[in-house]
């Protein structure tokens, strides 16, 4: 019955996505267009962006395929059945891994495809009305949101059913084995996210910074000017980083937190009564599936009629879906879980109500973290205004206040995560932490819809500018874009918060799987692990920040070369070579992600192999702690600098062109890699390290820290 329910809800999500995809595709660019010339221009630009985005994906997927196969081979040969029953757990995990990766890739592909259709249609529809234009970008986002959630839920269910059918019926610890194999699925999703978030993050900012520094600063042409050879790469970047990257990141979170809950739950519910056991085992997937309905209902409330109401409408969907989830999950928890259970034989007894409280804690703190993020990054509130004000005394004070804001903004979210952990753990042990993560990600379908809406609207603005659609249209797309900026900030806070809980859940699952119930911080090896782990996010951030610098440099040189060799470009008599810039961004971003990527993948493998699971647990927690603090503060500093600049551009403190504005531009540029590359990439660092640890537990346990034993 539960299987049928999850299947139905998963298919519902896919149908929703399909429905919106058809709706968006069926909108004609010609409708309402000012002239045939405009239509031609719009088409030309949108094809260039779509081609660029696909070129990046194609290249990325090629490398990804090699990486995935290599990693799959490693999984096959290193992971052995530590229950001693001779199950080919290595090959099985590898299959699960490849399926997870494939589904994540498909989700990213669909998101990009629809976003590159939606952007030009949003621009064209802006001629008709704000509402029309909003609807197209919002629905484009929904294709991503619902498509991805549906695929995640169905993928997890089908892989579970597959291995359930494949494994002999009389195995010892059968459920745990299945769930451990299933965690390969999460690893697959997360590996794609590494490419999407880190590679995509470097791509988008290299193109952005490169386009701005040569175009706006050196050549003095406006943003999104079609004469700028990097302009298409810049717009491609929005899709690559903010749609495919963000999507892969959150797909990873859903897959990973569900895997974590399944692994822990398998041990807990193995001895549950037969009438309730199948429900209890698959309960985590069901919660995500219910989120699909909650998100769908909340979408009906997103009907802004005036420009200033767009942001409110988007935010309302989040609150409404959270409330629906809070109401819907309660009866499910009470009926589908055993009234009392314990995670290990003879351990503490927990209740189904406790599980509900854990999920609720995740849902509520997720919403709160989002709202706090908005407080620190929107220029309607004091913090960003202070940063804007500090720009009056120059860029140095702008930087100091922006950094300080970022540091501050991470404090309450960290406290909220701490409260959630305590609540989840006291209510339902490690299972509670995993379910809190799933709760926080419960509204992911609508969350991702809003997230993906932003870059579509942003792109639409760029396209309107490039096609010369005029100020009225640009104003309309700008108001859609502004709302998207705020929701993007909320989305980032949300992504980091859920990454933190997911990583904790994975660490819990890793410990459960390694049969460890205690990590004594006073053991020197654990303490050393904490210290080493704490250093990794700093090292990683340093790498990604430099990577953006280096990739941007390559872009700057190419744009300069084109301007130098073809002077006609700036005069408008010659065409800029967009493809070459797209190519450079693609190449350098994929090259620059190698070092940070290796750091993330090799650290847990090497430490676990050489020093064992105790130190590895320390490393995971150490990295989690500094990673979350850095990620939140970097994302919010970046968002605040961006909006401080925008605040000044509304005419405050001297307006555009004033000294304060120049100072604010410096902060904005520093903030670019902060908020779109280094900050979000840290999500991947903390999650990927944890899921690698979980998947490779059998390998670590087998060698048991060869250097210390």
């Amino acid at each position: 019955m539960i299987i049928a329910l999850i299947l139905t809800l998963g298919l519902l999500a896919l149908l929703t996505a399909l429905f919106f995809a058809r709706q968006v595709s069926s909108v004609s660019i010609e409708k309402g267009a000012a002239s045939a010339d405009e239509v031609a221009k719009l088409k030309e630009i949108s094809i260039a962006i779509a081609d660029g985005a696909m070129a990046f994906l194609k290249r990325e997927y090629k490398i990804l395929a090699i990486y995935m196969l290599a990693f799959a081979v490693i999984i096959v040969f290193t992971i052995q059945d530590h229950s001693g029953q001779g199950i080919p757990i290595g090959p099985y995990s590898a299959i699960s891994f490849l399926i997870g990766a494939a589904i994540s890739v498909i989700s990213g592909y669909i998101g990009m495809k629809i976003a590159t259709k939606g952007n030009v249609r949003t621009a064209a529809a802006a001629r008709i009305s704000l509402k029309e234009s909003f609807n197209i970008s919002f629905r484009s986002g929904a294709v991503m949101g619902f498509g991805l959630t549906g695929l995640a839920v169905l993928g997890l269910l089908l892989v579970y059913l597959g291995f359930d059918a494949l494994l002999p019926a009389a195995l010892q610890g059968r459920e745990t084995l299945i769930m451990e194999i299933l965690s390969g699925f999460g690893l697959g999703g997360s590996s794609v996210a590494l490419f999407g978030r880190v590679g995509g993050g470097i791509y988008t900012k290299a193109a952005d910074v490169g386009a701005d520094l040569v175009g706006k600063v050196e050549a003095g042409i406006p943003e999104d000017d079609p004469r700028n050879p990097a302009v298409i790469a810049d717009n491609v970047g929005d899709n690559v980083g903010d749609i495919a990257g963000m999507g892969a990141d959150l797909f990873g979170s859903v897959a990973e937190s569900t895997c974590a809950a399944l692994v822990i739950g398998a041990a807990a519910f193995a001895t549950a009564p037969d009438d309730i056991k199948p429900f209890a085992l698959l309960f985590p997937i069901l919660v995500s599936a219910i989120g699909i309905v909650a998100s769908l209902v909340s979408m009906f409330f997103a009907r802004p009629t005036k420009e200033e109401k767009v942001e409110g409408a988007l935010k309302a969907t989040l609150t409404i879906s959270t409330l629906i989830m809070l109401a819907a999950v309660y009866p499910l928890s009470m009926n589908m879980l055993p009234a009392s259970f314990s995670l290990v034989e003879g351990g503490t007894t927990f209740t189904n109500l406790g599980v509900y409280f854990s999920i609720a804690a995740g849902l509520i703190s997720g919403l709160l973290i989002g709202l706090i993020t908005e407080f620190y990054t929107s220029h309607r509130y004091k913090p960003v205004r202070e940063v804007a004000d500090a720009s009056k005394t120059g860029s140095a004070t702008n930087i100091i206040y922006g950094l300080s804001l970022g540091y501050n903004s991470a404090v309450i979210p960290m406290f909220l995560i701490a409260v959630t952990v305590v609540l989840g753990y006291t209510q339902a042990g490690m299972y509670g932490i995993a379910m809190a993560a799933i709760g926080m990600l419960g509204t992911i379908a609508i969350g991702l819809t809003i997230d993906a809406y932003g870059p579509v609207a942003d792109n639409a603005g760029g396209i309107a500018e490039m096609a010369g659609m005029g100020k009225d249209i640009r104003d309309r797309t700008d108001s859609l874009d502004a709302a998207g900026n705020t929701t993007a900030a909320i989305g980032k806070g949300f992504a980091i918060g859920s990454a933190a809980l997911t990583s904790l859940a994975l660490t819990s699952a890793f410990l459960t799987s390694a049969k460890i119930t205690e990590i004594n911080m006073l053991e020197p090896i654990v303490m050393a692990g904490l210290l080493v782990g704490a250093a990794l996010p700093f090292s990683f951030s340093a790498m990604t920040m430099r990577s953006v610098g280096l990739a941007a440099l390559a872009m700057i040189e190419e744009v300069r070369r084109q301007f130098r060799e073809k002077p006609g470009i700036l005069k408008g008599t010659d065409k800029a070579d967009y493809a070459r810039c797209v190519d450079i961004s693609t190449q350098s971003s994929l090259h620059e992600m190698i070092k940070p990527g290796l750091l993330v993948i090799l650290s847990p493998l090497i430490i676990g192999f050489l020093f064992g699971v105790q130190m590895l647990a320390g490393v995971l927690i150490g990295a989690l702690i500094t990673g979350v603090m850095l990620a939140i503060s970097m994302a919010n500093s970046g968002g605040a600098w961006d909006n401080a600049k925008k605040f000044i551009e509304t005419g405050e403190l001297g307006g555009k062109g004033s000294d304060a504005h120049k100072a604010a531009v410096v902060g904005d540029t520093v903030g670019d890699p902060f908020k779109d590359t280094s900050g979000p990439s840290l999500n991947i660092l903390i999650k990927l390290m944890a899921i690698i640890s979980l998947v490779f537990v059998p390998f670590f346990v087998q060698y048991n820290g060869i250097l210390i034993d």
Copy 2:
């Protein structure tokens, strides 16, 4: 015998300090002076600086006195003998606390006194020769280095002897009780450091930034120009922050790490044979005392004859003193400690050789951390040159590369600390960690000498400029100052590294005292502690960065007011009101330190009282981890920006006045609060929280986390 030895070495340090103090004071300003007018000017300026520094100290000490008395009262009433023998441990700890504070205050006072004598004499002697000039500043530093170390060693010994005489002979756990009372001494020293480092740090940068922004940028007068009303405050700041603040910080580290070792050692050696027990108990103090001899010997190697050799000579003393310590501590460890011992009855057995290895690990990693810091902050190496290079594309890239450098620079020191912890712990348990901290601080007398040398030379340059002594003299003082900048960076790395180990040692002592041998990271309350603790350094840094901004603003307004109301100042016909600026810096810095100060003091008290020692342990470790990473990266980013600017000023990349230089100035300004306020203040955060936890253990144990039980 050991008592006599420590007494002798302590007195030797004091005599050395006295000897150098007399030598410096006896130098005549008239000797070699160009004219009577120059002598008069030199005297006038130096008196203004000395008066300003004393005015700050006086005001600070007044507030400090109130704070100390209030805190002493709290100690008297909250701390009760948890061994149940009715010893008035509260009042005794309060006495020990007040003595520690008093000695730290005296050390700071002496350091300031001699520094404000040495600065003008260094300037005057620069007319005679580089050697003469170097000697005066170096010896001024030595007064601080040896005076402070001597007072610390003697103070600890005498307080120990006093309570040893006072307590009944037949007490249970007598040694432990004495050492717990003694830890009040460390708390006293550390509380003064809070005022010195945080208050002093805000003072020095508020004055610096204020003087630069109005003087250099707005009025277009050179640095250290006597027409600038804030110029004296700026020079006072060097003494207040870099001498008194740094001194109080390191005095705190020595006192605290020794207390930690004494508390842990008391439990370990209580059952040692009678012939060795007194040696073993006081061994930690003896190691510090031996460091006095090692430092003294190394001083003879500091004889630079040419300008480019100053830095090498200073660095050599550190290496030499480390080598001497490594040789000298070996026989002492082997003879004065029991050949085998365990920290708790029936616990792991450790050896005296193990203790030696722990000390050696501290000594060596301290030196390495210093050298790595130099690599990342000196413009002779690649990292700073990259930051300078990045200035070519503007201040944003300068900031990005500087931040990235800081993040990177913290990774290896963190690994070194991790290795030291593992080594210390496996060799001698928690005692090993404490002894590693003492080892790292073993060469403190010479380390502090070099540290205090820097601001004296810096001040001398300022005085030479203000007195109009000409370019030749200024070049000479600049070369002394440049060497001081490098050694200051080394000193900062050293201070942070030792603060980390000290804090770990204190946490170990705190756990020993609370009879906790295990902190399970998987307990939700511990995990929550880690998360909350990790957020504190970010919150604290945000506060101190803003504080500098606010205090600088007050200074800017005052300087503008003076220029506006007395136009004669800029023309040189009217005198600037220096005293008013000194007053404003004093007032606003003391006001601005209240909030961060309360955060540091109240956090451990509230958490320990409400949630108990387990969560508090998590908080301490969480704060330690992020605190160390942030402190190192902030200090090194700041140092690198400073030196990147200096590198460009040598004529590279367009030299002074070029666009690259302007970009580098932005980085330098951002770096000011980073390296001189927020970064170093984090040392205090991690140490003070830990020592408060140690001292208040009886209080926490009594209530045992009232909210969770």
